[in-house]
């Protein structure tokens, strides 16, 4: 359970300066993951909702955690050393949490949770949280739509279903989802995205990117990936990132289709191999050859300066090099 130092009730009903709580008392523990699924609430019609609002000053690089039954979450980075959580949730639910104690200076952490009154609800809490630009935000929910803008610190987002869209360029970005789709629009210095079936769409480049999905599509369009590892089991992989710089990109799939979009006369060193899949090259004049045992194909060439190394490995997925 939440540490007592984060509980508003610890203060005997009164709160630290700057706080306002508009939330009812505690209810039963939440299921934690995807029990908060979108679905019919069997017992009720339109559920009345209550407003949530909390504010407080925090350090510019504070660590903020948000967990529970929220259906939508907007995380907005702003140029203030303060935190504001606002939104609504079904009446009877619990929103609790608070700031870490800070013997000196501003609090360096904050933790909040939303607990549903029961399983199976139409919509959960709808939250918006403003955080300092360089804050590190950790958020976890079942099925939720999360949007992030303005945050340049760190983000760690964990959903089961729904979607995640990040339009700022944080230093570190880690997203885990099962079915939920993920869109990263401005890249991240360090980037990790993992899904089971959710599609992954990344733009904007990264110094160190790892994208993996079991059966979702991994699409990388635009940006420079100094170290990129993009993997699926059955999902397709589309790579249209930059080439021509010192970098290394690995594309690995068991049976997904791999599409490599390259400019004319690309500065790449390519090493592609399949066990039984085909390879087609519409970009350079190099032709693939039969692979081992006469099955599958291999294609290797160095074009231009060969600065960017692209390695493609596929069991039976077909590989296509196409002009951008």
């Amino acid at each position: 359970m939440i540490s007592s130092r984060y509980s508003a009730r610890r203060h005997g009903g009164s709160l630290p300066v700057g706080w306002a709580v508009v939330v009812a008392a505690a209810l039963a523990a939440a299921g934690g993951d995807a029990r908060a699924q979108k679905g019919g609430d069997p017992a009720k019609g339109a559920t009345p909702r209550v407003a949530i609002e909390r504010r407080g000053a925090v350090a510019s690089d504070a660590s903020i955690r948000l967990f529970g039954a929220f259906s939508t979450l907007r995380i907005i980075g702003w140029d203030r050393d303060s935190l504001v959580v606002s939104g609504t949730m079904p009446k009877g639910w619990v929103f609790d949490g608070g700031l870490a104690s800070a013997p000196a200076g501003l609090p360096r952490g904050a933790k909040f949770f939303v607990e549903a009154q029961s399983e199976g609800y139409t919509s959960g809490a709808m939250l918006e949280i403003h955080v300092p630009l360089r804050a590190r935000v950790w958020a976890k929910s079942g099925s939720a739509d999360i949007e992030v803008s303005g945050v340049t610190g760190g983000l760690d987002l964990n959903i089961v279903g729904g979607s995640v869209t990040v339009s700022s360029a944080p230093r570190e970005l880690n997203i885990e989802s099962m079915d939920g789709s993920v869109r990263v629009l401005a890249g991240a210095a360090w980037l990790r995205v993992k899904t089971a079936t959710g599609d992954i769409d990344v733009r904007g480049g990264s110094e160190d990117a790892g994208l993996s999905s079991v059966s979702g599509t991994v699409r990388v369009t635009g940006g420079r990936y100094e170290r990129g590892k993009f993997e699926t089991v059955t999902g397709d992989i589309v790579y249209g990132g930059e080439v021509g710089y010192k970098g290394s990109v690995d594309l690995t799939t068991h049976s997904g289709r791999v599409e490599l979009r390259l400019p004319p006369r690309p500065n790449v060193e390519l090493d592609a191999a399949t066990v039984t899949g085909t390879i087609e090259n519409s970009v350079t004049s190099s032709r693939p050859i039969a692979g081992r045992e006469g099955r599958g194909m291999e294609l290797g060439f160095s074009s231009g300066t060969g600065d960017t190394r692209v390695v493609v490995r596929s069991f039976k997925g077909n590989v296509e090099l196409k002009p951008r």
Binding site: S286, G300, G306
Partner: protein
């Protein structure tokens, strides 16, 4: 390098088929017979294409291990030695392509110019007047000098020269094996020959 005469200059297909059949059942002695007969040719190919005795030795072993593993796929529609030779060519080319540690580059794509630029000129071009000063050295036919000169060739040029001018593969076969266009291979071959001519006339 010591030349090794093959144990049997004219292996016949029936004998090959029997050897393979026995080897398939796990008869290592039968496979040794194949090894003794073919190792010289396999090693020569590996050595000339890699220009590295240690790698050639390792590759030679890989070739025979792979051949052992793949005995089941030998159909007898080609000679055993040809089948083994193709395995050897494939192993050498694959190793050159995928060895990340050495970052070996197969410089066969016609749009690759950087490595070419590192050498005296960009391949064989229409430059006949430059060759006018070349005279035949007395020992041009010394095998050791030629082997040494071949070893000094750039990788792509060496690959095509060994496969075409020494091993006798046709351009279309080499194109299939390396994935390079025949035009590229022709240019690489001419370049290799020009470099050898210059090296041997010094």
């Amino acid at each position: 390098m010591t030349a090794v005469p093959p144990a049997n200059d004219f292996p016949d297909r029936d004998a090959d088929a029997q050897l393979v059949e026995r080897a398939r059942t796990g008869d290592v002695a039968a496979f040794e017979h194949v090894y003794r007969r073919e190792v010289g040719r396999v090693y020569a190919l590996c050595l000339r294409m890699t220009a590295d005795a240690a790698r050639a030795r390792e590759l030679t072993q890989s070739v025979f291990v792979r051949a052992w593993d793949r005995l089941g796929s030998f159909r007898g529609d080609s000679q055993l030695s040809s089948w083994l030779h193709r395995i050897a060519v494939n192993e050498v080319l694959t190793e050159a392509r995928t060895d990340r540690r050495r970052r070996a580059r197969v410089v066969l794509a016609e749009d690759r110019t950087a490595e070419d630029a590192g050498h005296d000129d960009a391949g064989a071009r229409e430059d006949a007047p430059e060759m006018s000063g070349i005279t035949l050295p007395e020992d041009i036919e010394t095998r050791m000098d030629l082997d040494r000169a071949i070893a000094a060739l750039p990788l792509g040029a060496r690959t095509v020269f060994v496969l075409h001018d020494i091993e006798g593969y046709r351009h279309e076969e080499i194109s299939r094996m390396t994935g390079s266009a025949e035009g590229t291979l022709r240019a690489q071959l001419h370049r290799a020959r020009k470099l050898l001519m210059e090296a041997l006339s010094r």
